[in-house]
Point group: C2
Chain length 420, copies 2
């Protein structure tokens, strides 16, 4: 599929992240205005609340864009998702008769503040990159026992904390937590010294389920994808996670990119999951190409320093797709709801410079990275960490924009007054 051209001419260059082929959905505000839903086209945003009020985008009798999140639209299901995308493609395409009428609904992205695009109902994080699971397992248990016995049979995941999901651009405060050093007999409560990022994709569930679903049904339930950084305090996690899994080490914040790239926009980029040692059970079997060819990069910018790319990998390297994760999630009868966010798990490639976390890039701190004139094993205060992602089409790209955050120093001891 070639580039579709728009009368928003900035959208028509081969390397712009938001051509007419993309049409990602976000929530934005201008100045002191209320946040509202919008769609990115080139360097502009079409204000959907305004377009709906003006009668330019009318899909249902009741309004879909009154609230500052996409959940209301998502709940309408795939037929309405398609109708909206078709309508927007017509409105924003080159030669659209609506161009003049739309003029009052267009906002420059440079004037806009981005907000959370959805109300996250619940957040689940998976662990579906074989390279990542192997790297981490090797560090902790040696290469022969790196993968847990269940790993090749189902997408392992845990429930995270929806209240901690924030939009790209939000500063991230280094957390305090309980940690235990191997050098000490007793744990201590202190600021995390091994604070890390995780390069992930996030899948957004658009429609609900009430019982088990097939992988195909799960794929149909997915509305779109975002970049996701699951900030991780490795020292807190290391002490807490046996036997019930990650908890406070993953609860400080998870950042997502502000623009939801729809499943429809990603259709041309579907790829197969990799060959498997064990056939998956029926409820997890692939129903077609399930992953996407999406290039992912990570840059680290120290305070006052230059941005440096520290990792480059591809979402197509994953072992389990979001649809398989969702099918597994619903298999027990767990009700899935619009706004559920599923983290893919850290995306790591096979090469050392394609790893998706500092834990792997610095091999647990044993091989610090050179960043400009400094070194890094984990993130330091003032560091900016940025994820980027794009699928490369024939003369166009489908970009995700950026998912970025700056590490703020830990707050002063929050319990100084309670010390005895």
């Amino acid at each position: 599929m070639p580039l579709k051209t728009s009368w928003v001419t900035s959208a028509n260059s081969a390397d712009h992240p938001f051509p007419l082929n993309n049409l990602p959905y976000g929530v934005f505000s201008q100045g002191d205005d209320d946040p509202r839903c919008g769609v990115a086209i080139g360097d502009m945003i079409l204000d959907l609340r305004a377009a709906e009020e003006n009668g330019l985008v009318v899909l249902m009798e009741e309004p879909l864009f009154e609230a500052p999140y996409w959940n209301d639209l998502m709940e309408q299901g795939p037929a309405v998702w398609t109708a909206l995308r078709n309508r927007l493609t017509d409105l924003l395409g080159e030669g659209s008769p609506a161009q003049a009428a739309l003029h009052a609904c267009m906002v420059p992205q440079s004037d806009a503040q981005m907000h959370m695009p959805i109300v996250v109902s619940e957040y689940t994080d998976f662990y579906a990159s074989r390279n990542h699971a192997f790297n981490v397992g090797t560090m902790f248990r040696g290469p022969d026992n790196a993968l847990p016995p269940n790993w090749l049979h189902m997408p392992i995941g845990y429930n995270g904390r929806a209240s901690s999901v924030v939009v790209s651009g939000t500063d991230i405060r280094r957390p305090w937590g309980q940690v235990k050093s191997p050098k000490h007999d007793l744990p201590a409560f202190q600021p995390s010294r091994r604070f890390d990022f995780e390069l992930e994709m996030g899948a957004i569930v658009g429609t609900p389920s009430e019982g088990p679903v097939t992988v195909q049904q799960a794929d149909d339930m997915i509305f779109g994808y975002v970049l996701l950084n699951d900030w991780s305090a490795r020292d807190i996690q290391g002490w807490e996670y046996v036997p019930l899994g990650p908890f406070q080490g993953k609860a400080t914040a998870t950042s997502i990119s502000p623009w939801i790239v729809t499943k429809a926009a990603l259709e041309p980029f579907r790829t197969d999951t990799p060959p498997r040692e064990f056939a998956l059970l029926d409820h997890l079997k692939d129903c077609g190409p399930m992953l996407y060819d999406i290039d992912l990069t990570v840059t680290l910018t120290p305070a006052g320093g230059a941005a440096q790319q520290i990792s480059r990998t591809n979402y197509a390297t994953m072992y389990y797709s979001a649809a398989q994760q969702l099918a597994h999630h619903a298999s027990s009868g767990c009700p899935m709801t619009p706004g559920d966010l599923l983290g893919s798990g850290t995306v790591s490639g096979t090469e050392p410079d394609s790893r998706g976390s500092m834990l792997e890039l610095s091999w647990g701190g044993q091989e610090p990275m050179q960043i400009g004139e400094a070194t890094r094993s984990f993130l330091e205060d003032g560091d900016r960490l940025t994820l980027s992602g794009a699928a490369q089409g024939d003369g166009y790209s489908i970009g995700f924009g950026r998912c970025t955050g700056v590490i703020l120093p830990a707050q002063p001891d929050p319990f100084a007054e309670t010390k005895g």
Copy 2:
């Protein structure tokens, strides 16, 4: 504190669960009416939406009881919680001048259908009974390694699934899931054969936090308590839980009792946590008596059979209080929100007949229980499992009512059509 008497005379008997001292909060409907907030008094319910509309309960300018859940009231904070309780105590007390006016707002409990009392924003389950952790650890790792090294230093917990929380009385469908028997090399997808209950208390968070909080602040944030049954598929959980913790084994359903017993009603029953081998770190230190003396019982009723009490224990046996769990939960900066539900973890006493799960009562199936003329290692289809709880005061009791559910057979193979 003695029994406070009410003009609703059924509330004045020493063993009634809902005297004027209690005033638990729920959501009910009558016939085809909309669900609405109410408070239990004896055998009756005071309809709070009606009382607010009639001007009998007016705490704020804006209405607090329009919606069919308690979140709006909870968000107002402790001063409004106290004002409501004081107003209800006046209205429902013996000799209240409002008795005649309230007549139109009273509904017999026997006519009412109970609903979820809150919108559960997120659900976290802890593991805070030392007896339970020791029993389960002993079964899996032997008595010398029963408690994980972190267990005596912080309340271990994991994030559960809010969408799966249901009100008492909801039938529970036996789940399918991926399990692996030690006898087989490969896992299978099948109905759970080791489906279990967990006797717990649930604490409901009423006010939000944005950063770490002290244990005292955490205690102030708690609105009230319910009985909680965290239904658990032990065979699914056993195969999935390493390394990221319980997931689908705990995602089918969690039942809660319909009436929220407020922290205020439980004040006379506070008890100390037990002696500790290791002093807790400052952020988790007790700030006074933190547990409650609440008798808890479990009965199992086979289909067509007689109810049999299978366990009796007390919430005061826990090692960590809900306030300590909440302080730990917020310690990383994790935002806590009104409607968060914290499961205490299975409440098990020291004696064999005070254990809070079939896993412990049947010692992993090795010592099946005698139930009437049958035996049970885990729950069977048609079994009704009921939790009850009450604090015993001086001539009155503070009851929680019941938390009950019946096990339905697993659905037919949900993936029969996908089999190759």
